[in-house]
C-alpha cells in the first residue's frame, strides 16, 4: 500500500509492512538444532520445519502479508492542552485518532513463521495463550495472556528450536486509555543460539495488576520486575522479594504511571516564573 494523499487523519497513521523487506530477520546463527542435540532437549515433538523456510527473502519476492488494520487507542481533540470556549486558536476542532499498529495474521514471513508454528506445536491452547501478534518495523510482538505466561516462557527458553535463553529486561508501560489493560509488562527475549529477538507483552487492568513472575525461568528478571513494580505497581506473583528498588522503601505511589505527577516546582528567574514541565503548554 502506498501513501495516499494525507487528507484524512486516519491515513496519516496507517501502518503497513506488506511491502517492507523483513528487517532484522536474517538469522546468523543456527536455525535448527544440530545433529548432536539430544532428543530430550526438545520440549515438544520433533519439528517438521526445515531450514529452507527460514531464510529471509531479500529484494525480489515481496512478502504478501494481509495488511494489518490499525488499532485505535484513543482520540485526541484540540491542541495546546486547552479546551472549552476560551480556546480561540482555531485548533479546538482538531480531532486526531491515535492508532497503534494492528494485529497481523500468519504467514508473517521469514523465521517468524517457524517460531509461531513451533510455539503452536508446544502449547496446547494456542489461541488462548497468544492473543495477538503485531509486526511493526521488522520487530515481532506476541501479546500473551497472563495465565499462560510462565508456561510459554518455559517453552521459549528450553525448546531447542526456540532457545530464547536471554531475557533483556522487563519494561512497564502505562496506557490509561486502554481500559481493561492499562498496565503492560513488556519482555524482550533474545535467542543467542539463533540470533533472534522477540518481544512478549502482557496487559493487565489497573484493578487487578497481577502478572506471574518469570524469575524462575529468567533469574535476570529479578531486579527488572522489582523496578516495574516500583514504578508502575504491577505485582509479580511468585517473585522472591518484591520490594521497592529505586524509590525509598516507604514511598507512596508508583512514579512512572501517567496519573502520577512529574513533581516539579515552578522556577523563578528574574521576575518571571516558569511552570514545571508537566504544566506547560503541550503541542501533542
Amino acid at each position: 500500500m502506498t501513501d495516499e494523499p494525507g487528507t484524512s487523519p486516519e491515513n496519516l497513521h496507517k501502518e503497513s509492512d506488506a511491502n517492507a523487506p523483513v528487517k532484522g530477520a536474517v538469522p546468523e546463527g543456527e536455525s535448527e538444532p544440530d545433529s548432536e542435540t539430544k532428543q530430550e532437549r526438545l520440549t515438544g515433538p520433533e519439528s517438521g520445519i526445515g531450514s529452507a523456510d527460514v531464510e529471509a527473502t531479500t529484494g525480489g519476492a515481496e512478502i504478501m502479508a494481509p495488511e494489518p488494520s490499525p488499532e485505535v487507542l484513543a482520540t485526541r481533540k484540540g491542541m495546546f492542552g486547552v479546551t472549552g470556549t476560551g480556546d480561540t486558536s482555531g485548533y479546538g476542532g482538531l480531532t486526531r485518532t491515535i492508532e497503534f499498529p494492528g494485529a497481523s495474521s500468519p504467514p508473517f514471513g521469514g523465521w517468524w513463521d517457524s517460531v509461531y508454528e513451533r510455539i503452536g506445536q508446544l502449547v496446547p491452547n494456542y489461541s488462548d495463550v497468544i492473543t495477538k501478534v503485531v509486526i511493526h518495523r521488522g520487530e515481532i510482538t506476541f501479546h500473551v495472556a497472563r495465565e499462560h505466561l510462565t508456561e510459554l516462557v518455559q517453552h521459549l527458553r528450553d525448546d531447542a528450536y526456540l532457545r530464547f535463553e536471554f531475557c533483556s529486561g522487563v519494561s512497564g508501560v502505562h496506557y490509561p486509555a486502554d481500559t481493561g489493560g492499562e498496565l503492560h509488562a513488556v519482555y524482550h527475549l533474545q535467542s543467542m543460539t539463533h540470533n533472534r529477538r522477540i518481544r512478549l507483552e502482557v496487559s493487565v487492568p489497573d484493578a487487578d495488576p497481577h502478572v506471574p513472575s518469570v524469575v524462575a525461568m529468567y533469574p535476570t528478571a529479578d531486579w527488572h520486575e522489582r523496578e516495574t513494580y516500583d514504578m508502575f505497581g504491577i505485582i509479580f506473583d511468585g517473585h522472591p522479594a518484591l520490594t521497592r528498588i529505586l524509590m525509598p522503601d516507604d514511598w507512596p505511589g508508583h512514579p512512572q504511571r501517567k496519573d502520577y505527577p512529574l513533581g516539579g516546582i515552578p522556577v523563578e528567574y528574574k521576575g518571571a516564573t516558569i511552570p514545571p514541565p508537566e504544566q506547560r503548554r503541550t503541542y501533542s
Binding site: 523496578e227 506473583d237 516507604d250 507512596p252
Partner: protein, 461 residues
C-alpha cells in the same frame, strides 16, 4: 489504583491497614527479616539484629564510600572476614529521567538520556536515536557520514570509559599511578570530544536522523594525533599491570562467574566475554554500519576479574583500529550531509562563533529568514513542537562498554516519547554481585564490583 503508605506488600497479600508507624509494615513479605533503614538509626538496627541471636555482623558499605562506583550500597553479613550474604542497595541516584523524557520533545529526550550512564553518553544517545529512527522508518536514510561519525564517537567513548574503569579499579586496590595515567589519557579523548561536539561530557550530539554538528577544521588531524599518542602510551598499562604479582594476586580468581552464571543472570559485555563466549552486538546484530569495519571481538579464557581487565585493555586497542578506519573514511566524505535530508525531521545545527563570542547558527538564520519560506516553516515547527513519530514500539540495543544497552521506545503518534525505558547493562550486571561475593573476603568485594564496572547513573536512571 490507590496506594497506601508503606506499599511493600507481598504478591497476593492483602493491602496493609494504614498504621501509625510508616516504616512498620514488616512481616513475611520477603525471605528473612526485612529492615527499613532511613538514616540516623543504624544503632537501632544493629541492636535489633543482635537480639535475634545470630553471631553475624552486618556491615554497611556505602552509599558514600570511595570503593563503590558511585552511590552503591553494599549490605554485607559477615562472619569474621568472610562474607556470608551480600546484597546491593540501589536507587540512591534515581533521577526519574525516563519520566522526565515523557514531557519533552523527541530531540530534547537526547539531552536527558545522555546523562544516564554518564561514562558512555554517546551510547545512550545512539540507542535512543536508533529506536526513534526505527519508529520513524528512516533507518536506511541516515547518511553514511552520520553513521561513520557515530561509530567514531562511540569507539572514542569506549576508550574513555574503559580508561575510567581501569583507573578507578586501580585506585581502589591501591595502584594510584594507574589512576593518574588513566585520567591523563582520558583528557586526550575529552579534548577530541570537545573539539567535535563542544562538550567534554554529556554531549547532546547524536540526534534522531543523524548527528548534530559537522566536523570542524583539522578535527581529523587531531584524531590522528590522538591515535598516535594512544598507540605510544597504551602499552604502559600493560607494563604496569599485566604481570604485576600484586595485581594478579588481587585479581586472579576473584569475582568468578562462568558462562552458566552469566546466561542465567543476563550478563553481557566484558564479564560475558571473559567466559570465552564471543557475544558482541557489534558483530552479531550490527548497527550504524559496524559490519563494514575490520575488528576482532576480544575474549579471555578465565571468567574472573583479571580476564575482564585484560579484555578491556584489548578492546581499547580494537577501538583504536576502528577509529583509524573511520578517519580514513571521513577524509573522503568532506562536505557530505550529516543528517537526514527530510527537513520535517531534522535540521543540522551548523553552529559557528559569532562576533560577540557566542555560538549561533548564522548561516541557518540567513537561510530561513532570507531565502526559503519552507525552511522557515520547518524551523518553526521543529522548534516549537518537534516532529511526530508514528505510533508503535521499538527496541534497538547497542554494545556499550558495559554490555547490552537498549532503549525500549514507545510512541503514541505525538511529539513526545510516550515511554522510553532503558535496559541498562550496569543494572543487570549488578545482580551478579551477590553471586560473585558470597564466600569471599571483603577486599574481594571491592575488586569484584570494580570488575563488573557498574555506573550508578545507569543503574538508577
Amino acid at each position: 489504583m490507590t496506594s497506601t503508605v508503606g506499599d511493600t506488600t507481598a504478591p497476593g497479600a492483602e493491602a496493609p491497614q494504614p498504621t501509625e508507624d510508616m516504616y512498620g509494615v514488616g512481616g513475611e513479605e520477603a525471605e528473612g527479616h526485612v529492615y527499613t533503614v532511613t538514616g540516623q538509626d543504624w544503632d537501632q538496627l544493629v541492636s535489633e539484629h543482635a537480639e535475634r541471636g545470630d553471631e553475624r555482623i552486618v556491615v554497611n558499605m556505602g552509599p558514600q564510600h570511595p570503593s563503590t562506583h558511585g552511590v552503591l550500597r553494599l549490605i554485607l553479613e559477615m562472619e569474621g572476614e568472610t562474607i556470608t550474604e551480600a546484597r546491593c542497595g540501589i536507587g540512591y541516584l534515581h533521577t526519574g529521567i525516563e519520566k522526565n523524557m515523557e514531557f519533552r520533545n523527541w530531540t530534547q529526550g537526547v539531552t536527558f538520556c545522555t546523562r544516564m550512564d554518564y561514562l558512555s553518553p554517546f551510547f545512550n544517545e545512539t540507542t535512543y536515536c536508533l529506536g526513534v529512527e526505527r519508529l520513524l522508518d528512516i533507518e536506511d536514510q541516515i547518511p553514511d557520514k552520520a553513521n561513520v561519525m557515530r561509530v567514531m564517537m562511540m569507539e572514542l567513548n569506549r576508550i574513555s570509559s574503559h580508561l575510567v574503569c581501569i583507573a578507578t579499579g586501580g585506585m581502589e586496590i591501591g595502584a594510584l599511578t594507574v589512576m593518574t595515567i588513566g585520567f591523563r589519557e582520558r583528557e586526550k579523548v575529552l579534548d577530541v570530544f570537545e573539539l567535535i561536539t563542544g562538550l567534554r561530557m554529556n554531549h547532546g550530539y547524536v540526534r534522531p536522523g543523524g548527528v548534530g554538528q559537522d566536523l570542524p577544521l583539522r578535527a581529523l588531524t587531531k584524531v590522528r594525533e590522538f591515535i598516535a599518542w594512544m598507540r605510544k602510551h597504551l602499552p604502559e598499562y600493560a607494563a604496569f599491570c599485566n604481570e604485576n604479582p600484586i595485581f594478579k594476586g588481587r585479581l586472579c580468581g576473584i569475582g568468578y562467574l562462568d558462562l552458566a552464571g552469566c546466561m542465567a543472570l543476563g550478563i553481557t559485555g566484558p564479564p560475558l566475554r571473559a567466559t570465552g563466549y564471543d557475544w558482541d552486538l557489534r558483530k552479531k546484530q550490527p548497527y550504524c554500519g559496524y559490519e563494514s569495519y575490520d575488528f576482532e571481538v576480544q575474549t579471555w579464557d578465565t571468567p574472573d576479574a583479571y580476564g575482564r581487565f585484560r579484555i578491556r585493555l584489548s578492546e581499547m586497542w580494537e577501538s583504536l583500529k576502528i577509529i583509524e578506519q573511520c578517519v580514513e573514511r571521513l577524509e573522503k566524505m568532506e562536505g557530505d550531509p550529516i543528517i537526514v535530508p527530510d527537513a520535517k525531521i531534522a535540521w543540522p545545527a551548523r553552529l559557528s562563533i559569532g562576533s560577540d563570542g557566542l555560538g549561533n547558527s548564522n548561516e541557518h538564520i540567513k537561510h530561513i529568514m532570507g531565502e526559503s519560506m519552507e525552511a522557515l516553516i520547518h524551523h518553526f515547527k521543529l522548534v516549537t513542537e518537534g516532529f511526530r513519530v508514528p505510533p508503535g514500539q521499538a527496541y534497538v540495543p547497542v554494545e556499550s562498554p558495559r554490555g547490552e544497552l537498549g532503549a525500549h521506545v514507545v510512541s503514541d503518534g505525538g511529539t513526545r516519547p510516550f515511554r522510553a525505558h532503558f535496559r541498562d547493562p550496569s543494572f543487570t550486571n549488578l545482580q551478579a554481585m551477590p553471586v560473585m561475593c558470597e564466600g569471599s573476603m571483603v577486599s574481594d568485594v571491592v575488586v569484584a564490583v570494580a570488575s563488573l564496572d557498574p555506573v550508578m547513573g545507569g543503574v538508577d536512571r
